[in-house]
């Protein structure tokens, strides 16, 4: 456990030791704000809530989180430090979880820094802060889902560009899995229960309810099990392709 902590600390400090933290946080906040006010019509809606803010999170994460996740393992591979890491007395799991938690926590920090919006909406009206909290929790969980996917894809390659592009595509599949774009691809040649299964994987559907204040245990379990699944896959791929 303590080794997870050591890795977590090193990784998290690493974000702030490089321009990654500044660039990511600034761009995240700018885009989140721009989407909320311009595309989301925050003011014109005349409602004291953060729905227009949360609605764009899946799309923001779709691009920004793979950019963060692509280096997780690809960089270790390219720099040869993966050999250093795995010849230390540490298990594969501890390394995978430690690095993931640091990256996830970093997105949490970026998310938390959007608090001026919450302040704004509280100044302008009387929003249901419970709903807003639920939105933040849901958004954070979804960020974890994207990050776990990115971690797994990053473990497959030493090329960060490939890691980024593939993560975006896989992420897009998960965002849209309840929509015709994805479902049409499978319909006709797969049984109905499989189609239902795929559409139940949609980030949008699960996030939709949470962002409206309904924290259903099933949505939480969905995101958490998604994270565990992709981290498990990360560990498997690392074990399998360590030498390459």
């Amino acid at each position: 456990m303590s080794r997870i902590g050591v890795i977590f600390k090193r990784e998290l400090i690493g974000y702030f030791a490089t321009p990654i933290a500044a660039v990511f946080i600034v761009i995240f906040l700018m885009l989140a704000g721009a989407f909320t006010f311009y595309l989301g019509d925050f003011f014109a809606r005349g409602q004291a809530d953060l729905l227009p803010f949360f609605n764009f999170h899946p799309w923001l994460y779709l691009v920004l989180i793979p950019a963060l996740a692509m280096r997780l393992w690809a960089e270790e591979r390219r720099g040869g430090t993966i050999e250093l890491l795995f010849t230390l007395p540490v298990t594969l799991w501890e390394a995978v979880v430690g690095k993931f938690l640091a990256a996830w926590c970093f997105t949490g920090i970026a998310l938390a820094l959007t608090f001026p919006l919450w302040v704004t909406v509280n100044v302008l009206g009387e929003p249901d802060n419970g709903v807003i909290l639920a939105g933040y929790i849901g958004s954070f969980l979804m960020a974890g889902g994207f990050m776990a996917i990115g971690s797994c894809v990053s473990a497959m390659t030493k090329n960060q560009v490939i890691a980024f592009v593939v993560s975006v595509v896989v992420g897009l599949g998960f965002v849209l899995s309840g929509f015709p774009l994805v479902l049409d691809f499978f319909s006709g040649w797969t049984p109905q229960f499989f189609l239902d299964l795929i559409s139940s994987f949609s980030f949008l559907t699960h996030f939709h309810d949470v962002s409206r204040g309904v924290i259903d245990l099933r949505d939480v379990v969905y995101f958490l099990s998604l994270i565990v699944f992709w981290l498990f896959a990360t560990a498997l791929i690392l074990e399998w392709k360590k030498a390459e």
Binding site: E83, L84, T87, P89, K242
Partner: protein
Amino acid sequence: MVEIRQLRKTFGPIVAVDHVSFTVSRGDVLGFLGPNGAGKSTTMKMITGFLTPTKGTVTVNGFDIQQQPLDAKKNLGYLPEGAPAYGDMTPLSFLLFIGAMRGFRGDDLRRRVRETVKKVNLDGVLHQPVETLSKGFKRRVGLAQAILHDPSVLILDEPTDGLDPNQKHEVRSLIRDMAKQKAIILSTHVLEEVQAVCTRAMIIAKGKVITDGTPAELEAQSRYYNSIILRLKGEAAGVQAMLQRLPGVKTVDVLEGPSGTRGFRVIPERGQTIIGAVSQGVHDHPWDVIELSVDRGHLDEVFRSLTMPAQALT
């Protein structure tokens, strides 16, 4: 301390390491020699637990690297090829991280880092990012992380590669200083390094151990081992034929040399010492001798003849 049994690694159809077995004990410095692609690094990666062997076992201080990896790795220090380190960290934060990963905390951790930094002379660059350091310093950072926890087994993959002669000398003295308390395996291309630091040398080629012995034994396999170099002024007519007749002499080669001199290499039959006979010959003839020396044999010649058998005689 380190026991390697029937180690084998295949990558698809390629056999990288083929049934390698050996033991290294405390006090041994084993030099791992071999051409590029011979399987040196792959063997080291299996010993340190980074790669899983296709077959065979490695035990470190009694711990099987596959069955009890954490215990085995605690007893191991490893410098991977190219001395990788996290480039955005400073040597200080990097060593603190490695120490913390190895379970040291607080004062103990800081004391160990301080001592190791002193050992490898990293003082001046402790606060510069590793990626901005010169090759020599990077190598020292890698060495520092390998010895930070004072492991009883040290695996060094090309520890002096790319260093200048002074830095090489420093690293070698460091290895010699540690040699008594540890079992050390190092790989190298530099044959003089084997003579300088190793108590044992092993040549591998195409994944197989070809020879294993002390550097002196290895030298003794050289054709030139105990051969005599004799250089004379003038034409030296008939000298070659005369040398050839001495007891124990196998062949006499004529050497290149400055004009006006004649050089000969007198090669003995295997196991024979001929310096007495040759010096007697020098004594008995009115030769104008400018050089008379005994050759200890050439590791690089042994290396070539063992790893490229077909071309050994040319």
